[in-house]
């Protein structure tokens, strides 16, 4: 409801607050009310009822269709944004589908205690235009119950808090709640007083959402219900909290990199992937990620990798929290530099690769390595820039210095069909062959090539100006795999 209001405000066609409004969804017997605003609530409009009934109750009710998928996406984004308070956050998808669960274990003291943290969270959410009901409890279920049915900003004091709450606070379906009420079990306290055995017998085959016993165990913590966020919380994280929202994180980057590299150095780790996340004031997050070719904790180097990419961050209306996380790290021991003050050359090379990769993309740079194949274009492969060289490269036949990829077709004059060309035309220029060597026959690799691939006869050719080429004829006359063989120019010798 509030998301809709905010959207309307932005578009400039919002309705006055005192007009009863409701969002509806299509139900089995016509549209039903999904959410209401405060005016409608006071007029007696209840969520879940049919819209026609509510129109009878409140004739001035203004209705619109709810955007459920948009709500879900907004909640997911909000869950990421809530990582500013603690690393374990998840959007609640279990029951009514609009809630956030934050596992604040070990994080509350950073915010001045539990009560101060709750007040701070509520303040931040209201800045976004959302009203929120917050509760703090040791389990997911207990927090869910306290937030919806407990006092304002409830903080768990003990199981007696839950005893007076209705059984609907157990995240049960409407049918089960009705059943329990008919059985006379109206509160959680009454339910937990019933012997386990009889509850287990009654709800033996029920699903989790309909099973009061399992839900009760989840509330008390006998049944674990961990919070697993979309991204695994990083072990290394440095934050910069700002008093005022800003648009450009450049000036904070060196300090963050310094802090992160201190953390990494304390545990002998080096970062392979580093993520910069900004938490925007409009409840969104924006992130960029860089990778390094070798583990590194050099603050200057990390800052350089981000330098040209900062403009890709979408700052929105500004952000007030920047965090730098080492998402993937590897062991990197402290290395003693030599007494003579020499530089570590391998380290230099990995930094060069990082810089070039950041600037020109990961596909721009590669290290060609030999591969065991006789087909020329398969005899080398593109490996990672720092891939190790093979110890003993296999001896190669005479191969050209440069290879055209793909080979270019040429027009050829020849004396005998199986022999070398006498003259050929490549890129509209005629070359007369003065010397040749060949053919070198390379058969197709039947285990990899398509059936019908033709063999190749390679010739080393020298033309009258001294340029040396590598030509091949694809196939033979009358080999039953196509018509007249075609000729290609595949490479140039020095």
């Amino acid at each position: 409801m509030e998301r809709k209001q905010r959207q309307d405000d932005r578009l400039g066609n919002s309705l006055p607050d005192d007009l009863p409004q409701a969002l509806m969804v299509e139900g089995t017997h016509g549209p039903t009310v999904h959410a209401v605003n405060r005016a409608a609530q006071q007029a007696g409009v209840t969520p879940g009822a049919r819209v026609t009934d509510m129109r009878a109750l409140c004739p001035s009710l203004h209705t619109d269709y709810a955007d459920l998928a948009g709500d879900q996406a907004a909640t997911d984004r909000l869950a990421l944004w809530a990582q500013r308070w603690c690393p374990w956050t998840v959007a609640d998808r279990t029951a009514d589908g609009h809630g956030l669960i934050l596992d604040t274990t070990g994080a509350d003291h950073l915010w001045g205690g539990e009560a101060a943290m709750l007040a701070g969270i509520e303040g931040s959410l209201s800045m976004l235009g959302f009203s929120a009901r917050l509760a703090l409890a040791p389990t997911w279920g207990a927090a869910w119950a306290l937030a919806r049915f407990g006092p304002v900003r409830a903080i768990w004091r003990g199981e007696q808090d839950l005893a007076g709450l209705p059984v609907a606070a157990l995240r049960l379906g409407a049918d089960t709640v009705l059943l329990l009420n008919r059985l006379g079990l109206k509160t959680i306290g009454a339910l937990s007083a019933v012997p386990r055995l009889s509850l287990a017998r009654r709800f033996l085959r029920a699903e989790l959402a309909e099973n009061p016993l399992l839900r009760l165990d989840q509330v008390t913590g006998h049944l674990p219900e961990p919070v697993s966020p979309a991204f695994a919380p990083p072990a290394f994280r440095a934050d910069a909290r700002l008093a005022e929202p800003i648009f450009d994180p450049t000036h904070h980057l060196p300090g963050l990199c310094e802090a992160l590299s201190t953390q990494l150095a304390a545990q002998d780790q080096g970062a392979r992937r580093v993520r910069l996340t900004v938490y925007r004031t409009d409840g969104e997050v924006s992130r960029i990620e860089v990778a390094t070719a070798a583990p590194s904790r050099d603050a200057d180097h990390l800052a350089f990798l981000f330098r040209d990419r900062l403009e890709r961050i979408d700052p929105g209306f500004g952000f007030d929290l920047i965090s730098l996380e080492g998402t993937v790290t590897e062991r990197l021991s402290k290395a003693q530099t030599t007494l003579a003050g020499e530089r570590n050359e391998a380290l230099d090379l990995s930094r060069l690769v990082d810089r070039l990769t950041v600037r020109f993309g990961a596909t721009a740079i590669a290290r060609p390595l030999p591969r065991a194949s006789h087909i020329p274009e398969r005899a080398e492969r593109r490996a990672a820039p720092l891939a190790p060289m093979p110890e003993d490269p296999a001896p190669q036949a005479d191969r050209p210095l440069r290879l055209l990829d793909p080979a270019e077709e040429i027009r050829v004059l020849y004396a005998v069909p199986e022999g070398p060309p006498a003259q050929f035309q490549w890129r509209r220029r005629t070359h007369r062959v003065t010397r040749y060597q060949g053919p070198e026959r390379i058969a197709p690799e039947w285990w990899r090539d398509l059936p019908g691939t033709r063999l190749r006869d390679y010739f080393r050719i020298e033309d009258e100006t001294g340029r040396r080429f590598w030509l091949y004829r694809e196939g033979l006359h009358d080999d039953g795999r196509g018509g007249t063989p075609r000729w290609f120019l595949h490479g140039m010798f020095a």
């Binding site: 060609p368 005899a379 140039m492």
Partner: protein, 228 residues
């Protein structure tokens, strides 16, 4: 088999004292006579210093498409190669400049097709200063370019010549020969040579294209025939 540096076998007269046997750690420019002549790349390979350190080889997209890519089995080098393909010539120059900061490389080779506006006097001067500061040789291979204004310390023009005959097979192409012309140089005398590259020994033999006697008779200092 001794692996001697290429310039040991050069014409000593054209060598300034002290640089014989060492690779020239500055920016050198090589013009290929025709597009698709691999002689320029072969000459650059013969001039690279011996060692195990990797080479950074950068091509722009056009030169890769028109003249092919360096082919590892044919390069005959036992050192690692870092191969980059970049679409814009301006980025090729930037990448070469970045590479010249890294002392772990042994050389930087950049290939550029034509005369892009990014490759002006300032850009070549930056590269030359960087190469000299880092002590790394930087080679710029120009395909189909004109010999316009440039700050390269040495400027070469390389064309393929008919190869030497093979003893075993007179009808086959043998070891490559190039017509190598140093037409502008800051540190040594320009000249015109016929270079014969012996790949097995990694040795480049330079023979003056014009005998000394003819030069003396013409009354010119050696190597001044084609100052461009």
């Amino acid at each position: 088999m001794s692996r001697r540096s290429a310039f040991l076998q050069t014409d000593r007269r054209a060598e300034p004292a002290g640089t014989a046997g060492k690779a020239v750690c500055t920016l050198s420019e090589v013009f290929a006579a025709t597009v698709g002549d691999a002689g320029a790349a072969g000459f650059v390979l013969s001039q690279l210093p011996v060692g195990k350190a990797p080479i950074l080889w950068i091509q722009d997209r056009l030169s890769r498409r028109e003249t092919g890519r360096p082919y590892l089995p044919g390069l005959g080098i036992s050192r690692p190669l870092l191969l980059m393909e970049i679409s814009r010539p301006a980025d090729v120059l930037a990448a070469a400049e970045e590479g010249l900061r890294c002392k772990a490389l042994s050389a930087v080779v950049a290939e550029i097709m034509g005369d892009p506006p990014a490759l002006d006097f300032t850009a070549t001067k930056r590269l030359a200063f960087r190469a000299e500061a880092a002590g790394l040789p930087c080679w710029l291979i120009r395909h189909g370019g004109t010999t316009d204004l440039s700050a390269a310390r040495d400027r070469w023009r390389v064309a393929s010549l008919p190869s030497l005959p093979l003893a075993d097979d007179p009808g086959a192409p043998g070891d490559p020969r190039w017509r190598v012309e140093l037409f502008r140089s800051r540190s040594r005398q320009p000249g015109l040579w016929v270079a014969h590259h012996d790949r097995a020994a990694h040795r480049l033999d330079l023979v003056p294209a014009v005998p000394d006697g003819a030069e003396a008779a013409a009354g010119r200092p050696a190597g001044q025939f084609a100052a461009g």
